[in-house]
């Protein structure tokens, strides 16, 4: 079965979507990611969509679901590299993608994930003290 690869890098999972996804492939990615977050105890997910030339309501909802599900599993998701034309189209389509954090590129996305992790950790310390 066709799958989008998920790479593990320390506490994070990295996904680069490079194909024009059909709906089932998008659903499979959603399932695989949630399973992988639990299996590898991940704290963050970075999804690179810079090669995606289009996001319709189905793919938009998949990205939103991944973010919401990862939150429930105590992990943060950052979506990076959205093309400007895709962003404009998404807004006109009426998609708000609740819960999705975005960054301009992979580097900034990683920074954002680390910041989230650090602030989570310090909150835990604050609670303990």
């Amino acid at each position: 079965m066709e799958r989008i690869p998920i790479l593990r890098m320390g506490d994070f999972l990295l996904v680069t979507i490079q194909v024009d996804m059909h709906d089932r492939l998008a659903m499979t990615l959603q399932d695989d990611l949630t399973r992988q977050i639990v299996a590898s105890n991940s704290r963050g997910v970075l999804i690179d969509i810079s090669s995606l030339e289009m996001i319709d309501s189905f793919i938009g909802r998949m990205l939103s679901n991944i973010s919401l599900m990862s939150n429930v599993l105590a992990a943060q998701t950052v979506v990076v590299g959205m093309q400007p034309a895709v962003a404009i189209t998404l807004v006109e389509l009426g998609m708000s993608m609740p819960g999705v954090r975005t960054a301009l590129n992979v580097e900034k996305g990683m920074m954002l994930l680390r910041e989230c992790l650090d602030s989570d950790d310090s909150e835990v310390e604050d609670d303990a003290s």
């Binding site: 189905f58 909802r61 093309q83 006109e92």
Partner: protein
Amino acid sequence: MMLLKSESLPIVSEQDIVRARQVARQWAIDLNFKLIDQTKFVTAVSELARNTLIYGRGGFMLLEAVEKDLRKGLRAVFEDRGPGIPDIEEALKDGFSTGNSLGLGLPGAKRLSNEFEIISQPGEGTRVTIARWT
């Protein structure tokens, strides 16, 4: 209006939705659509192709390259013989869905297109036509 080119594509599987957007993208590139216009048209095509598959239980997309008053454009007609839409006004509202979706397909595709027309006969099927000009 002059018809430059036309092609009919079946929409009977998820893979056909992908195919519909790829053909739409290529034709938009061939007509020198700007990137933003390509993206809007392809996204509208994707939404409507999915509607044809899921709500219309399959059908086809007729894609046409047309020219009017020296302007080129793309028109896509989605036709199915599914159950039809009893209340079109309701179906065009954001967030209305009879399935498990966000209900953005029809109203979103309308916003992304320069022209939009929908004809539906309960029990007989639905035809949605969109057009986008260069």
